[in-house]
């Protein structure tokens, strides 16, 4: 299977947030020695190169479908990424110290797409609840604010995601006056929210976007921008429990890994990172 390397390299070199970077020792697949490499974590992608100043990437590990485990190794501060399906591999690493080990394990556990997706669903639900609470007085202006659609991801004019923020990319879209997000006539594809530099200076459309409840998985989505809420909303009922559960599992997993590691060390070093979850 091919992968578009240019796209990967561009993403790594782009000015997107680096979730974590640092040196780790990576055990070779063929050569069983550990080699020191500079790792860069962005989202669910773990890139690596020889050293930070290198332009060329040596490789990338897509962090989907794996677990993070401490590994039995002569190497201190060792952990691995394990894909449990038959035929799939295990990547073995060693960190430079306890602090680095704990930090990498913690962040790698939550680097997968699903973690973020569930968290986002949860936040969306909380946001709607917060809006619901704030709109008890319907005569007051209660702006419904569309989610942030950065220009680099928005589509172009005709039909889809046609909410263009102003060029500075630092502003939220103007508020829409209405009774709140759950009622009111729909926002038709032709009626676009006008981008504005400051929320108070542009005229406010009278209609508020309609939230469509999530339908069956092969449902038709005709208004992508308004659908943003609708899509997540269907998951909202279960999402809070799902995310809380997942997050608790992560917390337990991290504590388990650390206590297991601590038991192996006779000198009983103190944790440099305090996990209180």
């Amino acid at each position: 299977m091919k992968i578009d390397e240019k796209v990967l390299c561009f993403f790594e070199s782009s000015n997107t947030h680096v979730d974590k970077e640092g040196y780790l020792y990576k055990k070779g697949e063929i050569k069983t020695s550990y080699q020191k490499r500079w790792f860069i974590l962005k989202g669910n992608l773990l890139f690596y190169k020889e050293k930070p100043s290198d332009r060329d990437l040596l490789g990338v590990i897509v962090l989907e479908g794996c677990t993070v485990q401490l590994c039995e190794s002569d190497e201190h501060f060792a952990f691995s990424l394990v894909w449990s399906e038959p035929g799939l591999r295990t990547y073995k690493f060693a960190a430079e110290d306890q602090e680095s080990l704990e930090s990498w394990i913690k962040i790698l556990l939550s680097a997968n797409h699903q973690y973020l997706a569930l968290l986002l669903t949860d936040m969306e639900r909380e946001y709607r609840e917060a809006l619901g609470g704030a709109t008890s007085d319907t005569t007051k202006t209660n702006p419904f604010i569309m989610p942030y659609f950065p220009i680099s991801e928005a589509g172009n004019a005709s039909n889809t995601s046609n909410l263009h923020p102003s060029s500075s990319q630092t502003n939220f879209l103007p508020s829409v006056q209405g009774a709140g997000p759950l009622s009111g006539p729909g926002l038709s594809a032709g009626q676009m929210l006008q981008p504005s530099a400051a929320i108070s200076t542009k005229p406010i459309p009278k209609k508020s976007p309609k939230i469509r409840p999530k339908k069956a998985t092969n449902a038709v989505i005709t208004q992508p921008s308004a659908m943003f809420f609708g899509d997540w909303a269907g998951m909202a009922a279960d999402s809070q429990d799902d995310f809380k559960k997942m997050h608790e599992e992560f917390g337990k997993e991290v504590k388990k890994l650390i206590s297991r590691w601590a038991k192996r060390r006779p000198d009983g070093q103190q944790d440099l990172i305090d996990f209180d979850c």
């Binding site: 299977m1 992968i3 997107t16 973020l116 936040m123 589509g155 889809t160 995601s161």
Partner: protein
């Protein structure tokens, strides 16, 4: 560049809400439209020959924008210097809309920015940081200042 191919192939077998037969054209000069089974899993787009189990290729959906060419066609444009373009033709307008929407929302970066948005707004509305309950308030990836310079706006409208 090395990558965990087998594990990525395994990922491509995950169930997905977005999997369709579309005609697709690659970014290279001379690439023509071909019928492919296109499948969206997390922030990757996999494409298969229609009767094959292993994908021909995988496309990371980050740092790209999606443009609608016409009612049936959309293009994924990667934001590097050369502007790499992948074009897709759908059967219906609805399907085209579904795809463009799904691809945009699948991006990890998109999700992260929206999360920061919600965090900020919830905090403004309730005075509470919604990430505190999970103990992840300090994670740099969720910080409000990252890549988003929020103007000090008047909150009188809220």
């Amino acid at each position: 560049m090395r990558f965990n191919e087998k594990e990525l192939i395994s990922l491509s077998r995950q169930p997905s809400e977005m999997a369709s037969e579309l005609t697709m054209r690659g970014p290279k000069k001379g690439d023509v439209f071909k019928k492919r089974l296109v499948k969206l899993v997390v922030n990757f787009l996999f494409y298969f020959r229609t009767d094959e189990e292993e994908p021909i290729g995988a496309l990371l959906l980050e740092q790209c924008r999606v443009e609608r060419e016409d009612s049936l066609t959309f293009t994924i444009i990667f934001l590097d210097e050369a502007e790499r373009k992948y074009q897709f033709e759908c059967d219906t307008e609805e399907q085209c809309g579904e795809w463009t929407d799904s691809i945009i929302k699948a991006s990890y970066e998109f999700m992260r920015k929206n999360l920061i948005f919600y965090r900020t707004e919830i905090h403004k509305l309730t005075g509470k940081d919604p990430l505190e309950q999970y103990g992840i308030s300090d994670e740099t990836r969720f910080q409000v200042s990252n890549g988003l310079q929020l103007k000090a706006r008047e909150t009188s409208s809220l």
